[in-house]
């Protein structure tokens, strides 16, 4: 299964190829930022921060067609909301893999150096 449903991403976009490309670059940056924020929440054992960031990401990335990423974030949100930070933390490697998959998929589809360069340093 592709990490992004391109039809949904296209529906979300403004309908132009340049708009779609800009959106893809923005999305690639944002998934990395979300990952960094959740990592920060895990490091600080801050369940509310994890929950809020996961909730926000799940909605946004779902709207852009990143279904598997959105589902994973929803799971993390639920665990964090139940104060089960350790279990939420255990999903971090899966989240990192999915973010990489999204970024690589976007970079491959849009052949953009901008997207390839979005990786945020840990």
């Amino acid at each position: 299964m592709n990490p992004i449903d391109l039809n949904r991403l296209q529906d979300f976009s403004d309908g132009t190829e340049s708009g779609l490309r800009d959106l893809a670059a923005l999305l690639a940056t944002h998934v990395e930022e979300c990952l960094v924020a959740i990592r920060g929440g895990v490091a600080g054992q801050d369940s509310e921060m994890i929950r809020v960031e996961a909730h926000r990401g799940a909605g946004t990335f779902g709207a852009c067609g990143a279904g598997p990423l959105s589902a994973l974030l929803t799971e993390i949100e639920t665990l964090a909301g139940a104060q089960r930070v350790e279990e939420a933390s255990a999903l971090l490697p899966a989240l990192e893999r999915e973010v990489t998959r999204v970024r690589e998929f976007l970079a491959g589809r849009f052949d953009s150096q901008d997207i390839a360069a979005t990786k945020v340093e840990q």
């Binding site: 529906d11 979300f12 976009s13 403004d14 309908g15 132009t16 708009g19 800009d22 959106l23 923005l26 999305l27 944002h30 930022e33 909730h55 926000r56 909605g59 946004t60 779902g62 709207a63």
Partner: protein, 127 residues
């Protein structure tokens, strides 16, 4: 569309804020943004008033529904069309917003930037 139509976008999600802002600017709108409810309400009350307001519901400091209630309760801002952007697809959330006077309600999971721009354009042109 008036090239100078003003849109106030109140949204705490950075990605959506930037995506909506870029799309609306591309279509010639003058876009101002706020990333929480308090700032949104302050900007909405400032002149020149926005022609259309896009408003998230779940935001820090002041929820969007309270921003909407405040706007619709003041003569200076009650006629500004407000479009709601929400993660919630619950019918009662939508009903509450529409009863308070929202001009439209968009669930983010189904959002289309193109449709949103068309809707903003129609509201700006409405006499």
């Amino acid at each position: 569309m008036s090239a100078t139509a003003r849109v106030l976008l109140v949204e705490d999600d950075k990605f959506l804020r930037r995506a909506c802002e870029a799309s609306l600017r591309q279509r010639g709108f003058d876009v101002t943004t706020a990333n929480d409810g308090e700032e949104g309400l302050r900007l909405a009350r400032a002149t020149p008033y926005a022609d259309v307001i896009l408003l998230d519901l779940l935001m820090p400091k002041l929820p969007g529904i309270e921003v909407l209630r405040a706007l619709k309760g003041q003569p200076e801002t009650e006629n500004i069309p407000v479009l709601i952007l929400s993660n919630s697809s619950r019918e009662d959330d939508k009903q509450q917003a529409m009863e308070l006077g929202a001009a439209g309600y968009y669930v983010k999971a189904n959002l289309s930037l193109r449709e949103l721009a068309v809707q903003v354009d129609q509201l700006v042109q409405r006499p």
